[in-house]
């Protein structure tokens, strides 16, 4: 038996490799398939009028401009709250916090925050921002809700990026008369920046594509004009897609897929930017 196995070692290895390759292909297939499918179905809907016009005829015709602008606003709004807070929290956890019951609790909270279903965030946002703080159904309330959802991603990737900066840089900087904060600002943050940016973009990308958290907090079915202040409600791509797919009878199919395509391009573009930043930083890295 052993002899048989030994003779076949090469073919066993070949079969193993083939299996692993197959698995990789199977993993990639749904992603590529989805993109091609949506491109094929929705490509014909894309036109200048579609990207720059308002919907009319009860959404059955016209464009999706307010939804595109709305998603842009929500993404920026989310960044405004979650980026400074997330980076500050990561700096605290990576550079200052000692291992104590408190920091273990904070870490536990962050991990659990990442696991909460997005619709729960939506309900929480409704309760806290829309009703209790009386922001109403607004860009502000929706951005804050999305921020809470995005924070764990930003905090954990930023903390990881900060920790990956070699300890010896900190020791040397301190030995040359730098304070801890100067060391963080001039050396550590600079070196961790690409990793932090990647985390920010990935977090915001998720926020841009979510429907449930904005469902009760800021998304509107239809608005005749673009939002003027952060206290206005807004249309948004993912919610618009949900609406025209389920709430509007006799909806032309290519408008649905066209909307899906725009959302997909929006999110994938952010993803590509993150990948480019990461790979460029890696090739420039001096350690």
């Amino acid at each position: 038996m052993m002899k048989l196995f030994a003779r076949n070692r090469h073919s066993v290895q070949r079969i193993g490799y083939s299996l692993i390759t197959l698995m990789a292909v199977v993993t990639v297939l749904p992603i590529v398939g989805t993109v091609i499918f949506i491109l094929f179905k929705g490509g014909s809907a894309i036109s200048w009028e579609f990207l720059s016009g308002f919907p009319h005829d009860g959404m059955r015709a016209g464009g999706i401009l307010p939804a595109i602008i709305g998603t842009l606003y929500l993404t920026i709004g989310t960044a405004v709250f979650s980026v400074p807070l997330g980076i500050a929290a990561a700096i605290y956890l990576a550079e200052y916090a000692k291992d104590s019951a408190l920091t273990r609790l904070i870490r536990l909270a962050i991990i659990n925050l990442a696991g909460i279903p997005s619709v729960v965030y939506g309900l929480f946002g409704l309760g806290l921002f829309v009703l209790f703080l009386q922001f109403g159904t607004s860009i502000l309330a929706a951005s804050l809700t999305l921020s809470i959802m995005t924070l764990p991603v930003i905090i954990s990737t930023a903390e990881e990026a900060l920790r990956s900066v070699p300890q010896s840089f900190r020791t040397v900087s301190i030995s040359l008369g730098a304070t801890r904060w100067q060391t963080i600002r001039k050396i550590v943050l600079k070196e961790a920046l690409p990793g932090i940016l990647t985390g920010i973009i990935l977090g915001l990308e998720r926020a841009a594509g979510e429907t449930a958290p904005i469902l009760f907090t800021g998304a509107a079915f239809f608005l005749p004009r673009l939002p003027q202040t952060p206290f206005d409600a807004t249309m948004a791509l993912p919610y618009h897609l949900f609406v025209i797919s389920t709430q509007v009878p006799e909806m032309p199919i290519q408008i649905q897929y066209g909307t899906a395509l725009v959302l997909l391009v929006f999110v994938l573009t952010m993803n590509v930017i993150a990948t480019v930043i990461r790979s460029r930083a890696r090739s420039r890295r001096q350690w």
Binding site: S168, T171, L176, G177, T179, R285, Q286, W287
Partner: protein, 251 residues
């Protein structure tokens, strides 16, 4: 004249185990004092007390004082930033900061508030010359410091310390990763530097200790066994343990 007086210094880790026991020694100005002995003897720990770098670790002073120019630097009221500018340190592995050669040299000065370009340029040239590396890097000061060889990096690290015009220079096995030629250059630079600085060196070998020491202190398991002039120590040691170590009977 003694620049530094260490008085009955004991250190321990946060778990209570001892790192250094009752060390008392005076360190001469304008001389090379060598701290040598087998690994784990407390040499680096002692070195890192002198610029309070142990503040970053879990090592605490349990007794004793360290006087530099008559002031106890272990006092909680000590300005550690000023102390670290006065007591520079070169580490075992060269760690160029991720920036250009010039920026590595000016980093500490800029932190200290020096902004004048002429002052910074002067300091770059002066300190690189003192560290015997100027001729090799003068045409590429804006290149990343990591692009240099290990030996060159270590001399840039020495220059980086010298740019702050310290009074005391601590070197923790500065040549442990270097080839013999680079090691020779660093040792030669130290002999030149001792005219103006107080130098404390943890050597990476007994041979280096013997070559460089004006004064030598032998450390074994957290205790100072013997402290004498270098010449005497490496020819006629008083203690049996010192002799055994120098002769290579253990270590």
């Amino acid at each position: 004249m003694n620049k530094i007086e260490i008085e009955n210094l004991s250190l321990q880790y946060s778990d209570g185990s001892e790192s250094l026991r009752g060390i008392s020694m005076g360190i001469r100005q304008n001389a090379v004092t060598v701290l040598f002995g087998p690994a784990g003897g407390g040499k680096s720990t002692l070195l890192r007390c002198l610029n309070r770098l142990n503040d970053l670790t879990d090592i605490r002073t349990s007794a004793g004082r360290i006087l530099i120019d008559g002031e106890n630097i272990l006092d909680p009221k000590t300005d550690v930033i000023a102390l670290r500018r006065k007591v520079g340190m070169v580490f075992a592995r060269p760690v160029p900061l991720p920036m250009s050669i010039r920026e590595n040299i000016t980093y500490g000065m800029e932190l200290a508030g020096e902004k004048r370009r002429t002052k910074l340029d002067e300091a770059v040239e002066r300190s690189l010359k003192l560290a015997a590396i100027w001729d090799e890097v003068k045409d590429r000061l804006n290149d990343p410091a990591v692009a240099l060889s290990g030996g060159q990096q270590q001399r840039v690290c020495l220059a980086r310390v010298l740019a702050l015009q310290p009074e005391i220079i601590l070197l923790d096995e500065p040549t442990s990763g270097l080839d013999p030629i680079s090691t020779g250059k660093v040792e030669a630079a130290l002999q030149e530097l001792k005219k103006n600085y107080t130098i404390i060196l943890v050597p990476h070998s007994v041979q280096q200790a013997a070559r460089t020491a004006d004064h030598a202190a032998f450390f074994l398991q957290g205790e100072l066994i013997e402290y004498d002039e270098g010449k005497k120590m490496f020819t006629t040691p008083k203690e049996k343990k010192t002799e055994d170590y120098i002769m290579g009977r253990f270590g």
